[in-house]
């Protein structure tokens, strides 16, 4: 049986009801371990001061924020091509989480910036393009909220998501052209030498895993909620018609 079977709302709800508890626990464990490890059992760095520990929230949330948008893009495409309502609703569900992640990254980043760069905010390319991503999330959700007819809303937001993605990438380059900044480069790049020391590295990985699982759990919950909301609306409309 193909994965499209799960596009059937009933089956989707059934599945999510089964997996959500597991995901939640797994996420809890991973986060507790990762954050606990990172916060309490990592030796104090010489170059970074204590605030370095923020990285265990900052980096995962930042990465999630970016990757969630990608996931939304995929879901939107699925909706546009295969017209599975669940897919569209999943995109909406994810967007909510993505927005929160973005805010977390911005906030932790700002808090971190204070000790590191002596300022809450700097117009560094990384930060700036993140701010733009934040705006995209806002617009996307606002559009969902504004359109009455659910299917039209799904269509419009999907198209917006496509166009938005292109422009997000475009702005990334534009911003780089505009200002070369002081933000860390991609420390998690694959070639080993420029990786940060393993002591920081492992707990970070655990945290990342934790965030991913947490995201999955949240998306499942929120998607089922969205599905049920639409179901209720549909039933109410039937009332009205009958």
């Amino acid at each position: 049986m193909s994965i499209w079977e799960y596009a059937n709302p009933k089956r989707f709800i059934a599945v999510s009801d089964r997996v959500v508890p597991w995901l939640s626990w797994l996420a809890a464990v991973l986060l507790v371990v990762g954050l606990g490890w990172g916060f309490f059992f990592v030796p104090r760095a010489e170059n970074f001061e204590y605030s370095v520990k923020i990285i265990y929230v900052h980096v995962p949330s930042a990465m999630m924020a970016i990757n969630i948008w990608v996931m939304m893009l995929v879901a939107s495409l699925v909706w546009l091509i295969r017209r599975h309502h669940v897919s569209a609703l999943a995109a909406r569900a994810a967007a909510g989480v993505g927005l929160v992640m973005t805010v977390m990254a911005l906030f932790t980043g700002a808090v971190w910036g204070q000790p590191m760069w002596g300022t809450w905010w700097a117009w560094d390319p990384r930060l700036t393009s993140f701010l733009i991503l934040f705006l995209f999330y806002l617009g996307y959700l606002a559009l969902w909220a504004a359109v009455e007819d659910p299917d039209a809303a799904a269509d419009l937001t999907s198209v917006l998501c496509l166009v938005g993605s292109v422009f997000a990438v475009l702005s990334r380059y534009a911003v780089n052209f505009w200002n070369q900044g002081l933000h860390q480069g991609a420390t998690l790049s694959l070639d080993a030498e420029e990786n940060i020391a393993d002591v920081y590295w492992f707990p970070l990985l655990v945290c990342l895993a934790g965030f991913v699982v947490l995201f999955l759990a949240l998306v499942f919950v929120r998607t089922t909620t969205e599905i049920r909301l639409r179901r209720v609306a549909a039933l109410q409309r039937r009332e009205a018609m009958a």
Binding site: N8, P9, K10, H84, D149, A234, R237, M241
Partner: protein, 210 residues
Amino acid sequence: MTLSVTDLSCARGGMPVLEGVSFTLEPGRVLVLRGPNGIGKTTLLRTIAGLQPALSGEITGAEDRVAYGAHADGLKAALTVWENLAFWAGIYGTPLERIKPALFAFDLYPLQYRQAQALSAGQKRRLSLARLLLTGRPVWLLDEPTVSMDAASVGLFAEAVKAQCADGGSALIATHIDLGLETDTLDLTPYKATPVWEFADRAEEEEFFA
């Protein structure tokens, strides 16, 4: 070529409204849609006009052959009567000479230099009907065309429809009043959709949200 609708089902605002509608409209005929408010006349016309997709069933002979007249007049308040018509003539590639007859047909000639916003309700309506003559389309889909028009104007409209039929056109008209034309009538009441989606492919998935 006749407009034929077979086993058509259409929805509005995500709810199925009509199902199993079938009829054919030969050239030279007028078909009047009747039915209580909210039965789905507007929805049906919009579907045939291609503004919204049908849930199921098929429509043949509508492609590029219909001129749609909606509840709204679609006039530009700032343009004069003549300019409004000239615009639509341009869109449909109709020569401008055809405007004058259209003005006469709906007794708008004296008002032709009046801005649309300075027209009374019925005058506006007449203007929006005059537009149909410039589309050169054989099939008219009209949604309550005679709203707020007086008896005389309704007469003019009837004339226009007759003329249209005379040269092989046809008209599908949703209305609550009597137009004083001999027409076929289709009452939509029996086609009211029972709000379940047997007809949707992927039945369950669709039905779930409808």
